[in-house]
Symmetry: D2
Subunit: 179 residues, 4 copies
């Protein structure tokens, strides 16, 4: 027994270390924030440029929400572990624009998190109303992953082997499963 413990420890380090300690945050993938809005960022190119889709769960207008395009860039995708980034969402269902900026962090459990702040710019008809056209706020995004990935990761303790349950869960973030 005494001999087995260090072996397990080393084995554990070999398996875990590459995944966690050196894990770099890349924006590509599917993300959800605390309001239920989600976005899909397409593969980031070598210059750090990307585009994708933003599906907001909330709106400051009365218009019907539609998926909108986002475009932006991040710092040095291959060099930085916790890159800063920025992107613009041009709302397809209104004349407004939102810009997000933030930094991608990997927490101690290896979960990625996007800490962002945003400015929502509304269209005004007259420059005299410019003063009231900008809202400000924060959003925290966690990564959504395909069901099979997080079932594997969460293990038996959290994920059910029940086929009915798994079938109804399409994506999972660090904390929960989305249908």
């Amino acid at each position: 027994m005494v001999q087995v413990t260090p072996l397990l420890l080393i084995l554990g380090m070999v398996l875990v270390a590459p995944g966690y300690s050196a894990k770099k945050c890349v924006l590509t993938g599917r993300w959800m924030n605390e309001l239920g809005s989600n976005m899909t960022i397409m593969p980031v190119n070598g210059k750090g440029e990307f585009w994708g889709f933003y599906h907001t769960a909330v709106t400051a207008t009365t218009n019907k929400i539609q998926v909108s395009l986002l475009r932006g860039s991040q710092h040095r995708p291959n060099q930085q572990r916790h890159p800063t980034f920025g992107f613009t969402v041009k709302w397809s269902f209104s004349d407004s624009v939102t810009v997000f900026t933030g930094q991608c962090f990997v927490d101690e459990k290896g979960n990625e998190i996007l800490k962002t702040m945003w400015l929502l710019r509304s269209h005004v008809d007259n420059i005299k109303d410019d003063w009231k056209a900008t809202r400000v706020g924060t959003n925290v995004f966690t990564r959504l992953r395909p069901r099979q990935e997080c079932s594997w990761e969460q293990g038996d303790s959290q994920a059910s082997d029940d086929d009915d349950d798994s079938a109804s869960c399409s994506f999972c973030s660090a904390d929960c499963c989305f249908q």
Copy 2:
């Protein structure tokens, strides 16, 4: 003489009116803000997407300033007179990112003005410092135009015919001449 004046007036209205009253603000071109920072926005495509160069006059770091790339989008370039827009500047001389959002207005004299707000996101090493990573502010940009254009526009009263003077003025905005 009496007959010529109304004719000139009508001719002037025909030439000037389409330029001013229906003038649409397009972001393409060269702009300068109140801090002396300037940017060049390349032709905006049909989807409202654009890229360009940002040359800041100020920095929150001690690094040497270098020209940086900007990418963004504006609403409906052919439909809106005063479109909202957003863009990201990935600073080439630091790990920071700035996002700008605003609206392009045409004032009563036909001068274009970009009223913007921005968030400057600094890179932090630890998520515990995330709270202090975002600065906020405003910038107002006016269009820079080649010398010959504004000499023509400003007329004799403001522009000098003195060759030495004109030669030293490379760009002009609504208010002044930049060398």
Copy 3:
């Protein structure tokens, strides 16, 4: 015994219901945010004015943190259930100032929550540096309550009857116990 239970239930409803369903949020008391900063707001007067103490857990300077004074006001303390408010913290250990503004909400469980945004203004020596002097962010505060109060409220399921444990818990918020 059978007869006592409904009586206790009704008594409980009478006592608890007015507290929750019509509960008005007043700022007076002790609050803690997600960064571990806490503040004590003294009794709000009839005009909605208040003062208190702010003990930040974080600083953008290298100075030793000290308790600082706060002053502000809230809307109609006796009329609104979810009043908006604002206050200024003049940092005693630096030349900076922070202003907070937000709204006090009572959630469905009767827990009070302060959703705030803030601007942190640093002192700059020259007006040319004014552009970079303002940081922006959010904070969420929950109420800290004396130990005996939350032991009573949380009941047996969450609070331990172990005397040693209770003794080490001085304040509790909606979620946890602070020592």
Copy 4:
């Protein structure tokens, strides 16, 4: 002639130096911003605390504008030349609150200027709408002074001796005269 010049220079320094080079910015007095909003700040006490009146020229609501109370504090009124400050305006004609923070500068001509940023918090009925409740912006205030004061200061070149003109000018800032 040669002897007179240094004398005039010294005389000028004696007269100008106390007024300009050592001028400390104190918030007490009447101020106006670029939107035409004005505020009166009552004498700042020894702790840097103050209150006053804010008369906004603009509103994000449809309510009739009324004078509102402001309360705040500034850093070390007797020690700092360019103190930072913050204050809260509780709007008397709506459920909103605005917090301002900024710094008072004295420019090279001895004119005081308040560079501020603000957050305007609107009341929302449900915590789900909290995300869109905060607007952000900037304001620049210059001091309004009684007519006789600025007539004296501006001298003959700018101020007219014409009685009709002076009579119609009640307050003046660095740039202009308000009626």
